[in-house]
């Protein structure tokens, strides 16, 4: 059996946010939506200042609060470890978001077509449409119109319906094609790794073998599928600097 997991190497992460960008483009998430977020953290006083970077995808918890509370089973856990959202079934109650300790859920507050407005780039420009066929965004990824997994549910990509919950999918559409998640694939310094932890000698298993690691908010017992190597969990005194533009 397969169980996918992600490893984050904090000794390598440069905080560059290429993973964030790759995620946004691969999954066509609109403005202010960060399925992947990279904290840039600062601690201590000059000159004894310390900096750390902390990438934060959905943790794909093995004991996922979000799955437990979903009243309609739209948020579900797959055999292979992925925690997904069925965009056709979700009723938009946002209970999963309230239950998630990691703040990784993003609700479609806006009509998907309008969600791109803040980018101030007129995708509907006729000269452009003649090239892109009017796709919104112009780099729209067709993989997301496809149903995934044996369960054949609509689970990948972003901005499908207004009023529906979304989050990191571990790039189910890529993983099912044997590709790495977009964030892992683009990371310039290989700070992200992904693979099957059930398989003894998958790259990720080999990477994690006899290494110290921790999970975010371990104490909550959510048992994330994302494990961090090197560094420590963020201290409660950590200050976030250089925040992205997050408002809608």
């Amino acid at each position: 059996m397969t169980r996918y997991a992600m490893a984050v190497d904090l000794n390598r992460c440069q905080g560059c946010r290429a993973c964030v960008e790759a995620c946004k483009i691969e999954n066509n998430t609109p403005n202010a939506v960060f399925w992947m977020h990279v904290f840039r953290l600062e601690e201590g006083e000059f000159p004894n200042t310390k900096m750390t970077f902390l990438p934060r995808p959905c943790q794909h918890c093995n004991n996922a609060p979000c799955v437990k509370v979903c009243p309609v089973g739209a948020r579900y856990k797959r055999e292979d470890g992925l925690v997904l959202t069925d965009f056709d079934r979700c009723i938009g109650c946002r209970y999963c978001e309230v239950a998630c300790p990691y703040g990784v859920n993003f609700f479609n507050w806006r009509n998907p077509e309008e969600a791109w407005g803040e980018y101030q780039i007129p995708f509907d420009d006729p000269d452009l449409a003649s090239v892109t066929g009017g796709a919104v965004p112009p780099y729209k990824n067709p993989d997301h119109d496809v149903r995934h997994g044996p369960e054949q549910r609509l689970t990948s990509g972003s901005a499908h319906f207004k009023g529906v919950m979304e989050k990191c999918t571990f790039c189910v559409h890529r993983v099912e094609q044997g590709m790495l998640p977009a964030c892992v694939d683009t990371c310039p310094v290989q700070a992200l790794r992904f693979g099957d932890v059930e398989d003894e000698d998958s790259p990720i298993s080999r990477f994690l073998r006899d290494k110290e690691s921790f999970q975010l908010l371990e104490e909550l017992g959510t048992d994330p599928s994302v494990v961090y190597v090197g560094g420590n969990p963020p201290s409660s005194h950590a200050r976030e600097i250089e925040r992205p533009l997050t408002g809608v």
Binding site: F34, V69, V72, G92, V98, N105, L217, S236
Partner: protein, 430 residues
């Protein structure tokens, strides 16, 4: 035969069927309010929930549950009080309170309806919701508890309850020729208030009352668990959610009952069947609940001051001195003043209906405030990862929708009063 006793050609009691100018005024206002709510909801539906003040928890620094969920909790609370009072009256046969029994039952039904609507307006996909919530219902989800169980199960039983207890009156009215007679015939459905029928109904309602109480506790606890079970939300997990919920629920419900009773007493000149003793009883009950609840508040304040974790500390500060302080202390005042006022009346034994109405309204404001404070701060200030502290202010749309809900409630009650006696009719002298 009871029918023989009936006196013909009399107008229906309690102004039923007769539409006064005052009534039209009230209904007019209520309709307007409801309309505003509908418009608000249409806007929200059109633009998406970006029209509300709610935003994502996390990088967006918002609250994804807001005023609407607060109102769900609040309305379900009100209904709780209604049905409890009604049940107590039946169970212990408190004759002197009979006058408010039906009001209480009506209040329950209306409040539950509004609670259900409050959930619907909070859904991003309301239409899907109505289908999927039942089609794919998951009992494991506390949400299922609040929605499907509380609202539907409990709405159903209280409707049955209201119906059974109203049948005797329906039978009486059915016996009179009036333009509503056909309605009452259907309502009475062959019930003729014969002694054994009456006995049977008594028994049924008794057992139903008995059944409703535990259902109630379960329902409201599960409502508490919606929050209480969330490990990831400092300020929610493990707190005295369930008990506090139930008590505050009582407070808001009794408050409403007092207001409603006073209104009816005045409008329908029911001074003797809704006598002072009704108010003293309700007043004492409310006072009792208030003091119990204020105890919870004190505990809450202390825990807020001496919080174990940084995160809970952050929420505590937000409540006591920070962003939410005005709402917090406002609500506390709105609950404390009436408590004191009622205590004073209780001691001096001088009960003033006017004041009690004011208190009844006040405690409800307090209750709404407290519900809000349970919902919002743990989201905006309860992040366990180093996200920025968030903010949440309801938008006009949300206020409009809430206004709509209250107006709809008023509309329903006003409507009921013109269809059926809101105060139980006296049994005809044998």
């Amino acid at each position: 035969m009871t029918v023989a006793h009936s006196r013909v050609n009399e107008p229906l009691p309690q102004g039923v069927g007769r539409l006064s100018r005052r009534w039209f005024l009230v209904v007019g206002l209520a309709t307007a309010g409801t309309a505003i709510g509908v418009v608000g909801w249409l806007v929200e539906h059109e633009q998406g929930m970006v029209a509300t003040g709610m935003r994502d928890v996390g990088t967006m620094g918002g609250a994804t549950w807001g005023l609407y969920i607060s109102m769900v909790v609040y309305f379900v609370g009100v209904s709780f009080a209604g049905i409890t009072v009604a049940a107590l009256i039946r169970l212990f046969n408190l004759e002197h309170l009979k006058g408010v029994a039906r009001m209480a039952e009506l209040l329950t039904v209306v409040a539950l309806l509004l609670g259900a609507l409050a959930i619907v307006v909070d859904l991003g996909q309301p239409l899907r919701g109505l289908v999927n919530l039942f089609r794919y219902a998951r009992p494991q989800s506390p949400f299922f508890g609040t929605f499907s169980l509380v609202v539907s199960g409990y709405l159903f039983s209280s409707l049955v309850y209201l119906y059974l207890t109203s049948r005797p009156d329906a039978a009486r009215l059915a016996a009179k020729p009036s333009k509503l007679q056909p309605l009452y015939r259907v309502w009475a459905a062959g019930y003729e208030d014969t002694p054994d029928q009456r006995a049977r109904d008594r028994r049924v309602t008794f057992w139903l009352a008995l059944a409703i109480l535990p259902l109630l506790i379960v329902a409201h606890s599960s409502l508490g668990f919606v929050f209480g079970l969330q490990v990831g939300r400092p300020g929610w997990f493990g707190t005295l959610q369930a008990p506090a919920f139930v008590v505050l629920a009582g407070v808001s419900g009794i408050g409403h009952l007092i207001v409603l009773a006073a209104l009816v007493r005045r409008v329908l000149h029911e001074e003797h069947r809704i006598g002072m003793e009704v108010f003293t009883w309700l007043g004492r009950f409310l006072m009792l609940l208030l003091f119990v609840y204020l105890y919870f508040v004190v505990v809450e304040i202390f825990t807020a001051i001496y919080q174990p974790t940084v995160n809970e500390q952050r929420i505590g500060d937000a409540l006591l001195t920070g962003e939410y302080a005005p709402v917090f202390w406002g609500s506390v005042a709105a609950l404390a003043l009436p408590a004191v006022g009622l205590a004073w009346m209780a001691v001096t034994r001088r009960w003033r209906i006017g004041w009690m109405v004011a208190f009844g309204a006040l405690v409800n404001l307090g209750a709404i405030g407290k519900r809000f404070l349970i919902v919002a701060p743990s989201q905006t200030h309860g992040q366990l990862l180093p996200y920025p502290v968030g903010t949440y202010t309801p938008s006009l749309v949300e206020y409009a929708v809430v206004l709509g809900l209250f107006s709809l409630g008023a509309l329903l009650i006003a409507g009921f009063m013109k269809l059926f006696p809101i105060v139980e009719m006296e049994e005809a002298a044998p």
